[in-house]
């Protein structure tokens, strides 16, 4: 937190079950524990069931007034439908982390930085197919460096339901993988 006005607005998006809501909570929790101000807003209710899920997170070293993210600095996107919906909203010079396992077309924007990661394939290789979300987050953390993957992994026990704590290790490995 040495930088002044360090502020990052992130949207996490995918389909229900890909764990994007968990990514948002994880990132927000880790940032809070690192001393940042954070806000987290999920999509909720009927729109979540069976369809796309997304959440937005703001990390700031100053108090956050508006918690609403209209133009994210970063989009971490896990499927095609969410890609189509959110890519146009990314701020110019923003960052796109996309899951190339499930998104085939490259974005038709040349004013953003694009990082593709075959998150599902890598997760399969790690024998943890449900950790594709952590692979994508790891790629983002390596790029932005706001928090280290280790810092984020330390917050996993707080956001992962107790019945899934057998997945703490594989998720930590997926986070550290970095694409």
């Amino acid at each position: 937190m040495t930088e002044k006005n360090c502020r990052e607005e992130i949207i996490f998006a995918g389909f229900g079950g890909q764990g994007v809501i968990l990514l948002g909570k994880l990132m927000a929790t880790a940032a809070m524990k690192a001393g940042y101000e954070v806000t987290y807003i999920p999509s909720y209710g009927a729109e979540v069931r069976g369809g796309t899920a997304n959440c937005s997170v703001i990390i700031d070293n100053e108090p956050i007034a508006s918690p609403l993210v209209t133009e994210p600095d970063t989009l971490i996107v896990m499927n095609q439908a969410s890609f189509d919906k959110f890519v146009p909203k990314i701020k110019p010079r923003g960052l796109l982390v996309m899951n190339t396992s499930l998104i085939e077309t490259p974005p038709d924007r040349d004013d953003i930085e694009v990082m593709g990661v075959a998150a599902d394939e890598i997760a399969h290789q790690l024998k943890s197919p449900r950790s594709a979300n952590m692979i994508a987050l790891g790629v983002y953390l390596k790029k932005r460096g706001l928090l280290t993957p280790q810092q984020v992994a330390e917050s996993l026990p707080y956001v992962l339901a107790k019945r899934h704590h057998d997945m703490l290790d594989v998720n930590t490995r997926a986070l550290m993988h970095g694409g």
Partner: protein, 359 residues
């Protein structure tokens, strides 16, 4: 607990209510406030307190009526359509002067509308909402921390004035997570004994909790007593905050989630040399009319920003009383005014030489 935790607004509110001494919760599921009901279902029995999932909002508010009559601290929570159903009971609570806390996590309307955030129940909340001449105290949190903190004055004000206190949030505040410090926030109010409560008449004369009075002069007198109470509340219980008002030419007025959009707008406007300030009512009733009137002595114009089509706008106009033009910008049906759109509106209004016309 002295460490901040990341928690939703709904859960923060629920936990704070328990810490504020809530003894019975009655509620019916409706999005976007189900987390409150579910949290209560888990935590209230742990504390040995009462939780009932009612068969309807109508039943929930009447269970609140019964619970409140025994002198216990009681509450219910719902969202817009459910709050409409509760209006009958809120009128009866007000007529019988029973203390209760009602939480409305507003969603898009009218009708079934949608489950996205809204502030379109302002009129309903601040004008009483049901039949008869009555008011409810309306508290409007704007952060998850405040969702928790305002529950303490909510219960104390309800007991102090024997009145319904409505906590008016919206879908975003209910669903969003922010770091929260959960503490027991004492308000240090001296609360009157509940000698009116139904506890069995052993050793005293019969207590009757009612709102019916068929004798016109008596019911009129009762109404005048209620009005006198409402004047006392207006005199003593206004809560509001403001910023950058000393030299503000344009004052933005917003509450709840809209007030956070407005804070960002004002700081961006200042960077562009626009003298903007903001006022945020924390109590929507009693409304901070005096604070707004004071700002109207200096400001050139006002802009209210709401997730509705101009409801609080009316109260701001009444407070400003023609001293300055009052403008409105807002969206509803689940949409939220963006920082960019509100900032554009501010710039448009502040164009040099522009003659300000209302709305």
């Amino acid at each position: 607990m002295s460490e901040k935790i990341l928690i939703t607004g709904n859960e923060a509110l629920a936990e704070a209510a328990i810490r504020a001494g809530l003894e019975a919760y009655f509620g019916y599921p409706i999005t976007p406030q189900n987390e409150i009901t579910e949290y209560m279902a888990r935590r209230m029995p742990e504390e040995g307190r009462v939780f009932v999932q009612s068969e309807s909002e109508l039943a929930a508010i009447n269970m609140v009526f019964g619970g409140a009559a025994t002198g216990k601290r009681v509450m219910t929570s719902s969202s817009s359509p459910g709050i409409s159903l509760m209006q009958e009971g809120i009128s009866y609570l007000s007529g019988a002067e029973l203390p209760a806390v009602v939480v409305n996590i507003m969603r898009g309307g009218p009708g079934l509308g949608n489950i996205a955030p809204s502030q379109s129940d302002y009129f309903q909340a601040t004008r009483g909402g049901g039949h008869g001449d009555y008011r409810t105290i309306v508290l409007a949190p704007s952060t998850v921390q405040e969702m928790a903190d305002l529950m303490f004055p909510a219960f104390d004000l309800a007991d102090l004035y024997r009145i319904v206190v409505m906590v008016l949030g919206d879908g975003v505040l209910g669903q969003m997570m922010e770091p929260v410090l959960l503490e027991k926030k004492q308000t240090h109010r001296k609360l009157p004994a509940k000698d009116w409560a139904l506890t069995g008449c052993a050793g005293r004369s019969q207590n009757i909790v009612k709102s019916l009075d068929l004798v016109v002069p008596r019911l009129e007198k009762r109404n005048l007593m209620l009005q006198e109470k409402y004047r006392r509340i207006e005199e003593n219980e206004v809560m509001c905050e403001g910023h950058l008002l000393e030299d503000a030419e344009i004052v933005l007025v917003a509450y709840g989630i809209a007030s956070r959009v407005v804070r960002t707008v004002v700081s961006r406007a200042r960077k562009e040399q626009i003298k903007a300030g903001w006022i945020r009512p924390v109590t929507l009733w009693p409304f901070p009319s005096r604070q707004i009137a004071a700002a109207a002595e200096r400001a050139r114009l006002f802009l209210t920003v709401e997730l509705s089509y101009g409801q609080m706008f009316d109260d701001v106009r009444i407070a400003v009383a023609g001293k300055a033009p009052v403008h409105f910008t807002g969206r509803a049906g689940g949409a939220i005014p963006t920082v960019e759109a509100v900032l554009d509106e501010v710039k448009k209004l502040m164009q040099p030489g522009k003659v300000a016309v209302e709305r």
